[in-house]
């Protein structure tokens, strides 16, 4: 994935590029809004990481111009303004996801890859499959190795989200936002318990565990 990073904090941008490279992506860096816009117009990137406060042109304006010109490259907005209001404004201007500073790199990477994937899989899916685990989104049924598995509605939603992001890391915050629609982090490890219950239903009776814990980041459902 080729990522355009528009960030004026040179040190932060360098770390970001380093992390992206280590994760197997290519990063192009620029420190101001106008250059960022010019590079984005070439439409060669798979995703853009855009800071909000930038010299010469602020991030939201650049996104608005891009969208007005019909360039639909997914944008992840980074901002020190982590308020929910700012988030709404950012998404309204055409951004696809919003992450407040400071952030954990794992969170950023997970969101970035999720963003790219969301764009890539435009046609509606009705069935998702990871190894021998299969879910039918219309019938709302789950099978593993042909055997039916009964899930509670919320467990189904959780599994669906994990499977839509198969092979990618999903953070606890992403799960809270997308499965429960909560934009705060509870002090208790509530998500871990939901995951372990789901795991006991889909992995316990089978040899190969699919739902894995990624230390320091979150969870991932994967075949390997």
């Amino acid at each position: 994935m080729r990522v355009l990073v528009v960030e004026d904090d040179r040190e932060a941008a360098t770390w970001l590029a380093k992390g992206l490279k280590e994760a197997g992506h290519i990063a192009d860096l620029t420190g101001d809004g106008e250059t960022g816009l010019a590079l984005a117009r070439e439409a060669v990137h798979d995703a853009i990481i855009m800071d909000r406060m930038l010299p010469r042109m602020d991030g939201l304006t650049a996104i608005e111009i891009l969208r007005a010109e019909g360039i639909m490259t997914p944008v992840l907005i980074l901002s020190a303004l982590g308020d929910v209001d700012d988030k709404v404004r950012g998404l309204r201007s055409g951004g696809d996801d919003y992450l407040g500073k400071p952030y954990a790199f794992a969170e950023l990477l997970a969101r970035l890859e999720g963003l790219h994937r969301r764009r890539a899989s435009e046609p509606p899916v009705t069935r998702l499959k990871v190894a021998d685990l299969e879910i039918d989104l219309l019938a709302r049924t789950v099978h593993r190795a042909g055997k039916p598995i009964l899930l509670q509605p919320r467990e189904f939603k959780l599994l669906e989200y994990l499977m839509r992001n198969a092979a990618r890391v999903v953070t606890r915050t992403m799960l809270l936002e997308n499965v429960w629609d909560y934009h705060f982090d509870p002090q208790t490890n509530v998500i871990d318990v939901h995951i372990s219950r789901l795991r006991s239903k889909i992995d316990k009776d089978f040899d190969k565990p699919l739902l894995q814990t990624v230390r320091g980041a979150g969870y991932s459902i994967r075949a390997d």
């Binding site: 982590g82 308020d83 929910v84 209001d85 988030k87 709404v88 400071p102 919320r154 429960w180 909560y182 934009h183 705060f184 982090d185 509870p186 002090q187 208790t188 490890n189 509530v190 318990v193 939901h194 372990s196 219950r197």
Partner: protein
Amino acid sequence: MRIDLKLLRTSTFRLAAVYLVLFAVSVSAVLAYVYWNTAVLIERQSDDTIAAEVRGIAEQYQQRGIAGVIDTVASRSQESAGAVYIFTNALGRRMAGNLPSLPVEAVGEHGWIEFSFPLETSRGLDRHTARAFYTELEDGYRLVIGRDVEERRQLASIIRTSLVWALGLSLVLGIGSAVVVSRNFLRRIDAITGASRTIMAGNLSGRMPVSGTGDELDRLAASLNEMLNQIERLMSGMKEISSNIAHDLRSPLTRVRSRVENALASGRKADYQVALREGLDDIDRLLTTFNALLSIARAEAGQTSEGLKPVDAATIVSDVAELYGPTIEEAKGSLDVELAQGISIRADRQLLAQAIANLMDNAIKYGSDPTAARGPLISLRLTTSGRDAVIMVADQGSGIPAAQREHAKERFVRLDESRTQPGNGLGLSLVVGIMKLHCGRLDLDDNRPGLVARLVLPRLERTA
């Protein structure tokens, strides 16, 4: 009375001036109409009468000659009061009439003249003004027919004078009252301006003067005062927060700093790793604290992302119950949920869920009976009480002593028992802030044993 420029610029004075001009114009119009109807019309009528008389005498002259004129003039001079006549021959000798001599103004063939003549009155000899028509007949005979206009002239002059006086008086009164009213107004505005200057200078406890009459200026001052109260509350909240931040963020920062310093000094890789890992944990905790502070500040300032909307209380509570249920069961505790249906409240779903979640977090952390091997026994209820909706989270832990319950709601307060548990002492403060935003309150009570926390929110009246 010194009138300064500021007074002339007040809106009251300008308004008064505009009304004054309108008033003066209408008064002048009315008086001009009265004057026209009295003085001018009467004068014109009398001119018409004189003209008619002239025509009558001209007829006499044609029918009967000079003698006819003399007769008519003589008889009219006797009978009509206020009329003046004189008929003279070519030598200027009076042939008939009640004027002693031909007025000197009567020169030329004919025309209108005004002259003064002596008149015997009860007070003696007066000079009166007459208006007359003068005409020259054949052979140097001259005839003057007129009316004594002295009284009418005096009346007209009285009308004119009173016109000017009335106008002058109304102008003076108008300007005077405008000045008085504007001064009064200006004095109160000056008081308000003065008060706002003091406040701007830093005295936030200053307030606008209220006269007590309940007029529009009082209403303005009262609402400004309310605004100032709110600002003062927010400011003192800010001050409290910043001193709390200074106090409570400084110690973890110091810890991180000394850890990094020690690791650098030791130079061993193993120490680096420990310092970095623990430093990361500390920084994450700091960020959590920081975000919680910001959330409290936003809630207390009345900011909400989604705004308060009518929502079904049971849905919000059961969503939180569903999120926490497995965790409580996993900890060998139990969550007992009882929700009354059909209760509508005005709330921000995110914030209210967060408030309930904070209470659940506390109940899980402190709600286990310390002697028993069981986990937390928590009950979550949604009920109504009068016009309020009540969300209750009760545990059977050791509770909070009555004397410390209010104290527990304050920022960064961690009661002795909780110091061993992770946390930042902001959970209940955020709940209090969120409740304030929802026009509700947080009550803490004894659950015998344990703590019962109640979120009390105003219910929405059902619109049938």
